[in-house]
Amino acid sequence: MSELSKLTIAEARDKLRTGDVTAVELTEACLSEIEGAKALNAFVHNTPEIALDQAKAADERIKGGDAPDMCGIPLGIKDLFCTKGVPSQAASAILGGFKPEYESTVTQNLFDAGAVMLGKLNMDEFAMGSSNETSTYGDVVNPWRRGNEDTALTPGGSSGGSAAAVAADLCLAATGTDTGGSIRQPAAFVGITGVKPTYGRCSRWGIVAFASSLDQAGPMTKTVRDAAIMLQTMCGHDPKDSTSADLAVPDFEAALTGDIRGKKIGIPKEYRMDGMPDEIEKLWEQGREMMRDAGAEIVDISLPHTKYALPAYYVIAPAEASSNLARYDGVRFGHRAKLAQGDGITEMYEKTRAEGFGDEVKRRVMVGTYVLSAGFYDAYYNRARKVRALIKRDFEQVFDQGIDAILTPATPSAAFGLGEMSDADPVQMYLNDVFTVTVNLAGLPGVAVPAGLDKQGLPLGLQLIGKPWAEDEMLNFAYCLEQSTGFVEKPSKWW
C-alpha cells in the first residue's frame, strides 16, 4: 500500500486511467504515510474527509473516460494558499483560527481538474525565511540526514513543508510559492524538482501576499515531467489578479523532447561565489558537461549586477511586506490581543501585531516601514527599484545575444542543521537565496533540478533560468539535465 504514495504524477495518471489503481486507494496510501510522518512536521492541517470526497469524485470522473491529467492526484497545499473552510494561516499566529470563505485561483484550478487535497503544509511564517524555522507550527525536519548522523536538518524554506512532504513520499506533489527562492532552495535541499514560473503565469489571487511584485506560485514535484503536468493546471489568466498574464499557455509536457541540440546555455561568471563548496563548483561543471554532451553550446556570460540582487531584494521585499501585512490589525480576521482597561484602538493594533507576528516578520515589516518612511524613500526604495531595473536589463542583454537559458547552482550549500544558524545575524540566512533571488527581481522563470549528492550524502541542485514565458523550453532543458544526471536517490526512512 505504501508504495502507492511513491508514484509520480505521470505514473499515477496512467495507472488511474488503466484502472490499475483508484484515486481513493492513492489517497488512503498518502493519508497513512502522513499519519506515520508526524516527526517531519510537514502537514499541519490534515483534511482527510475532503481528500476522500475529492478522490471518490475523481474516480467517478475517471470512469467517465475524459478526466484531466491531475484528476485523482493527491497533493499537499502550502499553508499560504487560501482554501475554503480550511485553516489558512501562512504559518502565523496572527491568522490563528482563520478559515477563508473563498478558494485561491491556483487551488481552484487544481480542484477543478480533479486533484485531491490531503492537507495544508508547514512553511516559514508569511513565507519569510530560508529554513522553515520561523513557523508558528514549529520547524519542519528534512527527511534527509547526513550520513549516519541523526542531526535534524532544515528542509529549506519557505516552502519547507512542501519540500519535505514530497521528498518523503507523503504526497505525489505539492504547491509552493517563491518570492526570493522559496520553491527552488527547499527543492534543492531535499532532492526534488521545483519551478518558479514567469511573474504573471500563475494567478496570485487568494495566496496570502508577501511581496506582490515578486510572489509566484509553482509546483514541487518528484520529476520534471510532473512539474510540467502540474504547472499546466495551476497557471492561466485570471481576471481576479490584474498582474496575471493574458497569454496562451504552451503545452509544457509536450515540450519535453530532450532535444536541446544547437541551443545556447549561458554560464554567468558572477555566480562563482567566494567560499562556495568545491562540491557545488564540481556539480555545476558536471551540469555544463552534460548539457554540452546533449548538443547544447555552453557560453560564458556576464550578469554584472548580480552582487546587488540580495541588497535590492532586502529593500523591495520588506517594503512590500510592510504594506501587505498592514491588514493584520486584529479587526477583520485572525488574532486580536486582550486589551487592558483604557486601551484604545492604537494599543489594540500594537499589541495584536506584537503578539501575532514572529521575530523575523516583525523585523522585515519594520525594515520595510523604515525604507518607505519620509526622508528615506528615495535613498532606499527608489534606489533599489533602479537597481532592480538594471538586474533585469542584465538578463535581457544576454537573452538578446541569443542565450536560451542560464545554468547556475541552486544554493550555495547543502541543507544545514536546524538551529545551526540561530546565532548568525539575519544577513547570513539571507545569503541562502543568492542564486535564486535575481530570478524573482527580473520576473523570470526558474527551475531547481536535483543533480547529485554531496560527500555527506545530502542532495544538491542545479538551477536553470529561462526566458520570460518560455517555461516550456526551460523545462525541456531541465528534463535533459534530469535524464543525464539520472538522480533517483531517496532519503532512507527513519521517521
Partner: protein
C-alpha cells in the same frame, strides 16, 4: 547611516508593533546590520535609470466600473474577532 534606539522606537511605532523598551537596543542593532548590507546599493551607478514599476511589460487590465460582487455581510464578518450587528467592532475611537 546608523539607527539609534530612538529611531528604532519610532519605526516600531510607525509599524504599529509594540516593542518593550529593553528590546529596543537589540532591535536597533539588527536594523543596522541589515541596513549596512543594503548600503552596498550606493556603489551602483543608477544615473538616468527609471525605477522599475512593472517587472513584465504589461498594461493593467481595465473593466467596466460596475458592481461584480457583494451582498454577503455574513461571510465578510465570519472571521472577525469581534463582530456585532453586521459591523466589525473595535475599541471606542471617538470620545
Amino acid at each position: 547611516m546608523s539607527i539609534d534606539t530612538e529611531t528604532a522606537r519610532r519605526v516600531a511605532k510607525l509599524a504599529r508593533i509594540q516593542v518593550e523598551d529593553d528590546a529596543l537596543p537589540a532591535l536597533a542593532q539588527e536594523f543596522n546590520t541589515i541596513l549596512g548590507f543594503i548600503e552596498q546599493l550606493n556603489e551602483v551607478d543608477v544615473e538616468g535609470v527609471e525605477p522599475m514599476t512593472s517587472v513584465t511589460p504589461m498594461r493593467l487590465k481595465r473593466r467596466e466600473d460596475v458592481v461584480t460582487d457583494g451582498d454577503q455581510p455574513d461571510k465578510v464578518l465570519a472571521n472577525a474577532p469581534d463582530a456585532r450587528e453586521g459591523f466589525f467592532a473595535v475599541p471606542k475611537v471617538v470620545e
